[in-house]
Symmetry: C3
Subunit: 102 residues, 3 copies
């Protein structure tokens, strides 16, 4: 089997921003993503609670796989695009078996 | 401390397939796994919604750590085994402190 | 854009241990973390069920980003600190755009 290298893009962002983030990824040709709802945490803008009754601070983890060039472009754009949000973005290397899926 | 390299196997699959996936990993000698329920997303087979009332399309993220050889065998087998499902499988490198756990 | 390398620390631990883990990470200067609640799985200490009514075995996945030295210190300390728990700890490489956040 040939293994193909891709980049995993992980974005933690306010749940209210999810539709915008998905549209942004899709504009870059990202073919699929996985979302993990109701994540929470603490960062530079204070505690973000999944259990917040108003869900104002509910966060979502978005996981997408893309080619290296696309992933780096998304990471670069994230600095400006998510500047005003308690968002976290990072890339890592992954190996996939079916490159046509990503 | 000696750090030991392992592979992380991540599989996103329909929740209804979870028992099969776990059995498959166990057959390969995988000693433990973590599951993240109610993930959702959009991929080549259409939107997969965690909030789908019938839960037909509810997905689960399975995370397992294994040796490189085992992980590559699982990745190779996934092509055939998950061919008919909206499944995503990828590997990445991790470092662990207690190799006897994996 | 300059990309900065960091380590991702992932810890799966009983939900009851979350506050201790967060305090431990904070002592090491970790600036933020994300938690994924209600994960479950099977490992060397038996099945850990998210749906356990008493929530005794509910687990949480803690994700933090840190510099390499900090991450390795946390991994080393985890052997002793989490010895009595069904905890899993592993590191991986990530790339970030805004190093001041981590």
């Amino acid at each position: 089997m040939t293994v193909h290298r891709r980049k995993k893009i992980e974005i933690v962002v306010e749940a209210a921003m999810l539709a915008d983030v998905v549209e942004w990824l899709t504009e870059h040709g990202v073919k699929g993503y996985t979302t993990v709802p109701k994540v929470s945490g603490f960062g530079r803008q204070g505690r973000r609670q999944a259990e917040d009754p108003a869900r104002v601070f509910e966060n979502v983890l978005v996981i997408a796989i893309a080619g290296e060039e696309t992933a780096r472009r998304i990471l670069a754009e994230s600095v400006e695009r998510l500047r005003d949000y308690a968002a976290i973005v990072y890339l890592s290397d992954v190996e996939v078996a079916r490159p046509d899926h990503f």
